[in-house]
């Protein structure tokens, strides 16, 4: 896609998303809000998987840490300030990622996948089995954080429409942030590490530090998603940190096409869409979903983000010869 087409496509998508609350169907607004949250989550993982070449299978840990942080930091029967709990929970998930990154980034390939998973399971059991997390039932967030600044309330997260636009705004900010840093010298180094880490080292880059920065950043951005998830649903459970969740977000990134931020968003929408549709057909929706994902990986290399180029090629060449 040319950059103009791609811009038009993104703005059209954004306009479409902005129209969702106009339907007035609270079910769809909540579903779309949840999907937007997962889209932010998928973009944060794509920074690692698609741009730095770090396949993390434990990204749900940072999502969950932030979600639990909101619930734990909020007073039981009154609203916490958004301007305190949002940075605090995001900061905690970034801190968790920094600490875990110090260990896991010493490994590579399959070992990295396994060690990230191990740390995520560790975090899962911390919230599942200690008094801190309230066991498998989780914790309720009874009152949503308040956006009040010195008596002035710019928006209310209690209001489903306000919350929806807040999340959509967060998606745009996270997208713009990632798109921007990927153009920076820092971002170019990450992409270089993905392409040929050994060469980056021989050119004088201490790649460990760059990877640690990326891992921490991805953890923090994943934390934004976790924060929003807790606010949307009003409760948190250890399931948020489970390996299913880590696997799902990885599938969203793969479906969308690794290394493409818009692809990650599309992947989140297709994934949740399939969950809903197949779930309405059959109890065994995961079986259908598994088949679709296998087919997508086999017949759609490069994921959804590669589709426009493939269509273009097919139209120009009168058929694909792949």
């Amino acid at each position: 896609m040319s950059s103009l087409n791609s811009m038009i496509f993104k703005l059209a998508g954004l306009a479409l998303l902005a129209c969702v609350p106009l339907t007035g169907e609270s079910f769809y607004v909540e579903l779309a809000a949840k999907t937007l949250v997962l889209a932010i989550f998928a973009m944060s993982l794509d920074l690692l998987v698609g741009f730095t070449g770090l396949v993390s299978f434990g990204h749900a840990a940072y999502f969950g840490v932030a979600a639990y942080a909101v619930a734990l930091l909020s007073p039981k029967y009154e609203a916490a300030s958004l301007w305190y709990v949002l940075p605090a929970s995001v900061g905690l998930s970034a801190l968790a990622a920094l600490v875990v990154g110090l260990f896991v980034l010493r490994t590579k390939g399959i070992y990295f996948i396994m060690v990230t998973l191990a740390f995520a399971q560790l975090a899962f059991f911390v919230f599942h089995d200690t008094p801190l997390g309230g066991g498998s039932d989780g914790i309720y967030l009874n009152v949503k954080p308040s956006a009040e600044i010195a008596g002035w309330v710019p928006f209310e997260l209690d209001n489903a429409t306000h919350l929806y636009y807040f999340i959509l705004g967060a998606l745009v900010v996270v997208y713009a942030f990632l798109a921007r840093i990927l153009q920076s010298p820092f971002g170019r180094v990450l992409v270089g590490i993905k392409s040929n880490e050994h060469r980056m080292q021989s050119m004088g880059y201490l790649t460990f530090r760059y990877k640690l920065a990326a891992f921490t950043l991805a953890g923090g951005l994943g934390g934004i998603a976790g924060f929003l998830y807790a606010v949307v649903f009003g409760f948190v459970t250890p399931e948020l940190l489970s390996w299913h969740q880590s696997g799902n977000v990885l599938l969203m990134v793969i479906l969308g096409g690794m290394g493409n931020l818009v692809g990650a968003v599309a992947g989140a929408f297709v994934f949740t869409g399939m969950q809903e549709v197949f779930g309405s057909w059959t109890k065994h929706w995961q079986l259908v979903m598994g088949c679709v994902i296998v087919a997508a990986v086999l017949f759609m290399p490069g994921g959804l983000s590669a589709v426009p180029a493939r269509i273009k090629r097919a139209l120009q060449g009168g058929g694909s010869n792949e």
């Binding site: 010298p185 170019r188 080292q201 021989s202 920065a213």
Partner: protein, 270 residues
């Protein structure tokens, strides 16, 4: 040919005295389990000289380069750069002090453009990772340096090409451009002429001659015409050990070298 001479180095470095000893490796040894790949190898690289490592396959030339570049830690021995002990430094740290290398098997970023390959190398000299909101493509100094180094390596016409589609010889030139862009004062070049046509090869020899005055160059090479065209010192390695080291004339006349090399060749013909 380009007018830019030694685009990678600052004026101060270019004015540094020739003959100054840059890199000294003393009795470096590398073992892989029971195999001794390098034993007590000594290499001295003065500025302004080209030092060639010769030897049959498996003689330990690449192991030696890997130890000098930091890709492999030596099992024994020390390596000094401008008087400082750098034996314990990693490859990235050695690159930062001024030791650059190219690889025997082409080692580039195949999906990036030629410019981006070299721009990344240039950027490594002034890393500002905290400036995450600045645009890499607006760092004029890195772009200019990259272009100058690409020109110097003779790839000026292919700046915007994707590196992976270049010919083998051009990819070797790209590697040289990348080493140049890192301001390397010591260049360790592992078979830069391998697989090049005679024109490309001759041009690369010209490039090496132009780079030589302000740098120390260690070259592993099999192309004898090129070797004798650029070498100031030749070290012949056999079975991980230095057989003989000295000026080209001495090596040419050496009986031991003739036996190691020509002796083998004779046996093929008999």
């Amino acid at each position: 040919m380009s007018e830019v001479i030694n685009p990678g180095l600052s004026a101060a470095v270019q004015a540094a005295p020739a003959g100054e000893i840059l890199l000294v490796a003393e009795r470096i040894t590398r073992r892989f389990g029971g195999l001794v790949a390098n034993q007590d190898v000594c290499v001295t690289l003065p500025r302004g000289k080209v030092h060639v490592l010769l030897g049959p396959n498996g003689a330990g030339k690449s192991t030696c380069i890997n130890m000098l570049s930091g890709d492999l830690p030596p099992s024994e021995g020390t390596i000094h750069f401008m008087g400082k002990d750098i034996t314990g430094l990693s490859a990235a740290q050695r690159s930062q002090v001024g030791i650059g290398r190219s690889y025997q098997r082409t080692n580039i970023f195949p999906k990036f453009t030629v410019l981006e390959n070299v721009r990344l190398a240039a950027q490594s000299r002034r890393q500002q990772p905290w400036r995450i909101f600045s645009k890499a493509m607006k760092q004029q100094w890195a772009l200019e340096k990259a272009r100058a180094c690409i020109e110097e390596a003779g790839l000026g016409a292919k700046v915007d090409w994707i590196a992976g589609v270049l010919s083998h010889g051009e990819q070797r030139q790209l590697e040289i451009a990348m080493v140049l862009a890192t301001d390397a004062q010591v260049m360790l070049l592992d078979e830069p002429l391998a697989g090049m046509g005679s024109d490309e090869s001759a041009r690369m020899v010209e490039v090496l001659k132009r780079l030589k005055p302000s740098r120390a160059i260690l070259l592993v090479e099999h192309d004898m015409d090129a070797v004798f065209a650029v070498a100031d010192t030749i070290t012949v390695m056999v079975n991980g050990q230095v057989l003989e080291s000295g000026p080209p004339a001495q090596i040419k006349a050496s009986v031991a070298v003739q036996q190691a090399y020509l002796g083998q060749e004779d046996s093929f013909h008999v």
